[in-house]
C-alpha cells in the first residue's frame, strides 16, 4: 500500500504513546499507524520518552508480600488482540475490526441524508467522545466548518480535497480548533473515513448542515 502523506501531529502521537489520548482519537491513530511505517517509528521514539520518564520515577514500596508468584492468573485484558484473529487482512484497519467487522462491506450504514451515510461506533463506558464511520457520495461538497477541541479524520477509501490538500486512503487530518475548511469528496469514488472527536455529539451540527447544505446561505 502507498504510504500516507498526511500524518497525525507529533503532539498527538506523543499523547497516544503516553496512553493519554482520548479513546476515540486513539482508535484513529492506531488505524493510521497500521498503514504508516513512518508513524510506527515515531511512535517508538515517543514510547521511549515514556520509558525514560517511567524509569526516573521513585519506586513505591509494595505492601503485600508479592515475590511475583507467576502462576496466579490475572483477569483477561480487554486490549488483547483476540478479537482480530477471525479476520483475514481486509479493507478495514485491525484497530476497528472488532467494532465494525472484517471488511468495509460489513459496515451497517445509516443514511443521514442526500449522499451522506454514517455508522456510530461504540466507545467504552469510561470514554467520552465520538467515533464514527462516514461515507460521502462522489463529488459532494461539505459545508465549511471549524473544529472544536481535538479532532481526527482518517480516510479509509476514496479521497477528499480541501484547502490543505488531497487526502487519500491512509491520510490523517489532525485539525486544531483554528482550522476552517470545506472538503469536497472525490468525484469518482466519493470518500469513506473514520472520524473522531473528544467531544460527544460534536458532529451533530455539521451533519445537520451536511444534509441541508443550503440552509443559512
Amino acid at each position: 500500500m502507498k504510504q500516507p502523506i498526511h500524518h497525525p501531529d507529533a503532539s498527538t502521537l506523543m499523547s497516544f504513546a503516553a496512553g493519554s489520548l482520548p479513546e476515540a482519537l486513539s482508535a484513529v491513530v492506531a488505524a493510521h499507524v497500521e498503514m504508516c511505517s513512518t508513524c510506527g517509528r515515531e511512535l517508538r521514539t515517543a514510547e521511549r520518552i515514556g520509558a525514560a520518564l517511567f524509569e526516573q520515577l521513585e519506586p513505591a514500596a509494595l505492601t503485600a508480600q508479592m515475590s511475583g508468584e507467576a502462576e496466579r492468573i490475572p483477569r483477561r485484558e480487554r486490549w488483547q488482540d483476540q478479537a482480530y484473529a477471525e479476520c483475514a487482512p481486509g479493507s478495514l484497519p485491525r484497530a476497528i475490526q472488532r467494532l465494525v467487522g472484517c471488511d468495509l462491506d460489513d459496515v451497517q450504514w445509516k443514511r443521514l441524508g442526500l449522499g451522506v451515510w454514517h455508522m456510530p461506533l461504540p466507545l467504552s463506558e469510561g470514554a467520552t467522545g465520538d467515533l464514527r464511520l462516514l461515507k460521502i457520495a462522489p463529488g459532494q461538497i461539505m459545508p465549511e466548518h471549524g473544529h472544536g477541541g481535538c479532532e481526527l479524520t482518517l480516510v479509509l477509501a476514496g479521497a477528499y480535497r480541501d484547502e490543505i490538500g488531497l487526502f487519500a486512503a491512509g491520510d490523517v487530518a489532525d485539525l486544531g480548533d483554528d482550522i476552517e475548511h470545506m472538503p469536497i469528496s472525490c468525484a469518482e469514488r466519493g470518500c469513506i473515513c473514520l472520524i473522531a472527536s473528544e467531544e460527544k455529539a460534536r458532529f451533530k451540527g455539521l451533519f445537520a448542515r451536511m444534509v441541508q447544505p443550503f440552509t443559512g446561505l
Binding site: 507529533a10 506523543m14 497516544f16 482520548p22 515517543a46 505492601t63 511475583g68 507467576a70 486490549w79
Partner: protein
C-alpha cells in the same frame, strides 16, 4: 525544577542504568524457559516502579499495587512476544503498564499495541548490537528531557506521568489548546533530533 521525576535517592529496587542488558536477559529467560527465578528478579525491579507510575496516574495505593502486580503477570504471560532485538525491556514493560492503566484506571479500550506488533525499521539500519544502542538511545532521551525548557518539560510530564489529555492540560494550566500542542511538538522535535543523531 520538574525533572528528575524521582527525588534522586537510588532505591534498592531501582535497576541501575547499566543493567539494561541484564533486564533483557531476564526477560528472555522468562520467555524461553519460563524461568521463575528470572521472573522474580524482574518483579522486584519493576513492580515498585509500576506502582509509583499508577499512583502518579491517580490510582489509590491499593489499586496501584494491584495493577502493578497485574502488569508484571502480563509480562510473564506475554514474554514469548518480547524480542530483545526490538527494544529495551523497560520500554516494553512501560507499554504494558500504559495499556493496563488505560484499561483499569480509565476504563477505556487501549488501542495501543505493544511495540513488536508494529513495522520495524529496515533490517539494514539495525545496528549489530541493538540492546546497547537501544540503551544509548534511552540515555539520550533522558538527557534531552532534562535539557528541555521548563514549560515543555511540564506538559510532557503532565501527559506521560499524570495521564492528562491535551485538553485537560490546557485546562489545568489555563492555556489555549494550541499552546499545549505546540509545546509538546517542540519538546518532541528536540528529543527526536538528539536521538536521531545516533544513526
Amino acid at each position: 525544577m520538574i525533572l528528575p521525576v524521582s527525588t534522586g535517592t537510588r532505591s534498592r529496587y531501582a535497576p541501575a542504568p547499566a543493567s539494561a542488558a541484564v533486564m533483557i536477559e531476564l526477560l528472555q529467560r522468562v520467555a524461553e524457559r519460563r524461568d521463575a527465578e528470572a521472573f522474580a528478579e524482574l518483579f522486584q525491579s519493576f513492580a515498585p516502579r509500576v506502582k509509583a507510575y499508577m499512583i502518579r496516574q491517580g490510582a489509590d495505593p491499593a489499586t496501584a499495587e494491584e495493577v502493578a502486580q497485574e502488569t508484571l503477570l502480563t509480562v510473564w504471560r506475554k514474554a514469548g512476544l518480547y524480542s530483545g532485538e526490538k527494544g529495551s525491556a523497560t520500554t516494553w514493560i512501560f507499554t504494558i503498564a500504559r495499556n493496563l492503566r488505560i484499561d483499569r484506571l480509565r476504563r477505556e479500550m487501549a488501542f495501543q499495541e505493544l511495540p513488536e506488533g508494529r513495522d520495524e525499521e529496515p533490517s539494514s539500519d539495525t545496528p549489530p548490537d541493538e540492546a546497547v544502542s537501544e540503551k544509548e538511545r534511552r540515555v539520550r532521551v533522558r538527557e534531552a528531557l532534562s535539557k528541555l525548557p521548563e514549560d515543555q518539560q511540564q506538559v510532557v510530564i503532565l501527559s506521560y506521568i499524570e495521564g492528562l489529555s491535551h485538553s485537560e492540560i490546557a485546562q489545568r494550566l489555563d492555556l489555549p489548546l494550541g499552546t499545549v500542542k505546540s509545546r509538546m511538538r517542540l519538546a518532541y522535535q528536540k528529543i527526536r533530533d538528539d536521538v536521531e543523531d545516533l544513526k
